[in-house]
Amino acid sequence: MEKKLPLKCPSCENQLKVKLLFCDKCETEVKGLYTLPIISQVSNEDQKFIIDFIKSSGSLKIMAQKMKLSYPTVRNILDELIDKITILETNEI
């Protein structure tokens, strides 16, 4: 089963941050308080879209062919994602 990175606190719904990093080879632990990168804060589906978009050299036409969707549908998904990222960036500031 693929584990899903929790983004929101199950108790208060606040954005979660990273407090502990762990090396599973030498078992070193790094403690601190780090904000998750914006890309990690969007859903898995959105992250997959971003990766596929980069792999398609930023071409919506290629994306539409790959996803078997129409061009405006893919453009709308991208614009929605831009809105999400803009909100996340605003919240970070």
């Binding site: 078997k68 969707l69 129409s70 061009y71 405006p72 549908t73 453009r75 709308n76």
Partner: protein, 178 residues
């Protein structure tokens, strides 16, 4: 992603592909309308008379499509944050007109070719026309929503305004040409 192909095929088809399918549909609808004498004046008026040439029937259908698409494109350009493409707007609106083929298609059947007022044939034709009008409404709403990427109030109000304006302008155009 769940969607219904019958009232929203635009998740899958848009742009040039929808334009070609829609254009073939428009030619077929106009030809059948010419054969059966079915006039589409705007979208809310339907009239029956074999009184014009084929090009006039083609003009009736294409003028409404062109006006509506132009208005949608203008509304999308002004209101949408997305970079919209004219081919998506014109193509999807053209494809949305496919339900209008049903009435002239039915009128090929001899029973529906000539009928008197308040006859069974007339009521069936009206029923079929209302059905195709509702189907067209759903299709064209989704065409506008997807091709222009508008939502909520912007979508509803601009859609209604464009619909009314297209109806008025197309009627005016037909009236000026006749």
């Amino acid at each position: 992603m769940k969607f219904n192909y019958l009232y929203n095929p635009f998740f899958l088809i848009a742009g040039f592909k929808s334009f070609i399918i829609g254009f073939i549909g428009l030619l077929l609808t106009s030809y059948l309308a010419y054969l059966t004498g079915t006039h589409f004046i705007g979208i809310l008026n339907i009239d029956f008379a074999k009184d014009s040439k084929f090009c006039f029937f083609l003009l009736e259908s294409s003028s409404h499509w062109f006006l509506m698409s132009t208005l949608f494109f203008l509304a999308g350009t002004i209101l949408s944050k997305s970079r919209i493409r004219a081919i998506d707007v014109f193509g999807t609106v053209l494809l949305s007109r496919l339900p209008f083929i049903i009435v002239p298609l039915i009128r090929i059947i001899p029973f529906f070719q000539s009928f008197s007022a308040y006859s069974t044939a007339m009521f069936i034709i009206i029923g079929v026309y209302v059905f195709s009008l509702i189907w067209f409404g759903l299709l064209v709403f989704n065409a506008f929503r997807i091709s222009c990427n508008l939502r909520n109030e912007k979508l509803i109000f601009s859609f209604i305004i464009c619909l009314i304006l297209a109806e008025i302008f197309s009627k005016l155009l037909i009236w000026l040409l006749t």
